[in-house]
């Protein structure tokens, strides 16, 4: 659990969001393996930094609030960086 008050639903939403906008590679489609805790923390920090939040690395309420803010569909990382992430995966 990234934060004590976080529900499983919020956790899933957070991971989906981070994947959708390029901070986290999606779960492996073959093995279904999820991200490591370290990768998740790093992704959250990157998202918080990009959004102007304090880089706590946990899915706190401020972070979840920003994730619910209306936004553009395109990822925040460039296509090149997303592709690099996929290749690494």
């Amino acid at each position: 659990r990234a934060a004590p008050s976080l529900t499983a639903e919020q956790m899933d939403m957070g991971v989906d969001w981070l994947s959708k906008y390029g901070y986290l590679p999606p779960p492996d489609p073959v093995t279904g393996q999820l991200q490591t805790k370290e990768a998740l923390t790093k992704a959250i920090k990157a998202m918080q930094k990009f959004g102007g939040l304090e880089e706590t690395g946990v899915l706190d309420q401020a972070t979840l609030g920003l994730m619910k803010t209306p936004r553009c569909s395109l990822p925040d990382l460039s296509e090149t960086e997303v592709m690099v992430g996929r290749r690494r995966r």
Binding site: K49, G51, G52, P70, R71, S73, L74, E81
Partner: protein
């Protein structure tokens, strides 16, 4: 900033709205077209790119209002969440295409700030369409999150961060100062000309009957696309938004405003309609509506369409305070709602309610300093903000203050 995406190799890009948003009384098709035009213009004003609207299926930038899964890999998710996206330039046939979620409550200058401001989102998405990625910079339209309305499309100025990124991609437009610095109001990157005025029109020598700008009592004065137009007889003078005369010599009305009768000897009043930014000309009991420089089909029509009296109008202007259109005739005035296309109840009223404004005006206009200006004879009066009273120190001379006269 992230690494720049692909960019267009050509400089002239076509656009087209393929599907419009669901019906809304505040956001008609012409308004949507105008907002797209101005959102693209934000980028073309500071770069060598040019955008032109086309009708066919081959537009570089196809604009759609769609919802849910629309088969491009970026499904929309209903109100909130993702609101729009655009495809970067490149080889794919979708390059440049821009999609808005039709489940959003799109608005334009909503007074209560509800809904999603279409102009603000369109400026952001067209940034993607020309190659800009998201940025975390605080002062940028390319931040990924919706930041609320950005104000009047005619006055919007890109943050310096975004200008620099566009210049890195495409270079600087010929009309843009290379030394422009952030927060320096004297170094604006916006070219002053909004409407198409080919050089050869302004260099056509005026006829012998052309009036003297310094002694004229003007027939009509209007702010159109941020610029001031002074009409006299068959001619007009044009001032940029910085109040610089485009030319000391007047241009001929019928050569610029295509579709007015060539024998028209003068106009009574002119104003730019709020909402769709069409331009309305009054003469006698008739009026014409222009989209940019060209008259719309079906005009002239009788001014009774507005519920106006049968004697014509002296003046027409849109008050910034409430976005309503005010018509003046002799010592009366009317208030018209251009969004609802109807006259407000309780009018006409006595024009003396505008304290200090004289009767039988030549014309009136709003101006970008949030003031309204009233013109009569060789003098003009200023009304600031939402006051209905002339500011102290007026009247002042029109020629000296507006038209480079001594």
């Amino acid at each position: 900033a992230l690494v720049a995406q692909n960019k267009w190799s050509k400089r002239h890009l076509s656009w087209r709205i393929r599907t419009f948003p669901k019906e809304s009384p505040l956001l008609g098709r012409d308004t949507v077209r105008a907002l797209m035009y101005y959102a693209l213009k934000v980028w073309s004003d500071i770069s060598p790119l040019n955008f032109h609207e086309v009708a066919g299926n081959d537009a570089d930038i196809q604009i759609d209002f769609t919802k849910a899964d629309h088969n491009d890999g970026y499904p929309f998710d209903g109100p909130g969440g993702t609101v729009a996206h655009a495809f970067f330039p490149g080889e794919r046939f979708t390059a440049g295409d821009t999609h808005f979620d039709d489940d959003e409550a799109w608005t334009f200058r909503s007074p209560d700030s509800h809904g999603m401001d279409l102009f603000a989102v369109a400026v952001h998405e067209f940034g993607h369409a020309i190659g800009l990625a998201h940025t975390s910079a605080i002062e940028s339209i390319m931040r990924p999150y919706y930041q609320g309305p950005v104000g009047d499309p005619l006055k919007y100025n890109l943050p310096y961060e975004d200008k620099v990124r566009v210049w890195q991609l495409y270079g600087v437009s010929d009309s843009v100062s290379h030394t422009a610095q952030p927060d320096d109001p004297s170094q604006t990157a916006d070219p002053p000309v909004l409407l198409d005025l080919p050089e050869n029109r302004s260099t056509v020598p005026p006829a012998r009957d052309s009036p003297d700008r310094c002694t004229s009592h003007f027939d009509a004065v209007a702010q159109i696309r941020g610029e001031a137009f002074f009409f006299k007889g068959k001619y007009f003078w044009r001032l940029t938004r910085e109040k610089h005369l485009v030319s000391l010599r007047p241009a001929q009305i019928h050569r610029f405003w295509r579709g007015l009768p060539t024998n028209l000897d003068s106009v009574d009043a002119v104003y730019e309609r709020p909402g769709d930014h069409k331009i309305v000309f009054f003469k006698g009991l008739k009026y014409w509506i222009f989209k940019d420089n060209n008259v719309e089909e079906g005009y002239p029509r009788p001014i009774s369409d507005f519920g106006l009296p049968m004697e014509g109008v002296d003046a027409a202007f849109v008050w910034l305070h409430n976005d309503k259109t005010y018509f003046f005739k002799d010592n009366h005035y009317w208030r018209y709602d251009d969004h609802l296309r109807r006259m407000d109840l309780g009018y006409p009223k006595d024009s003396t309610l505008w304290k200090g404004v004289p009767p039988q005006l030549d014309d009136a206009m709003r101006w970008s300093d949030d003031s309204s200006y009233f013109f009569k004879g060789k003098e003009y009066w200023r009304v600031v903000g939402s006051d209905m009273e002339v500011e102290a120190g007026y009247p002042r001379p029109i020629g000296k203050d507006w038209l480079v006269c001594t």
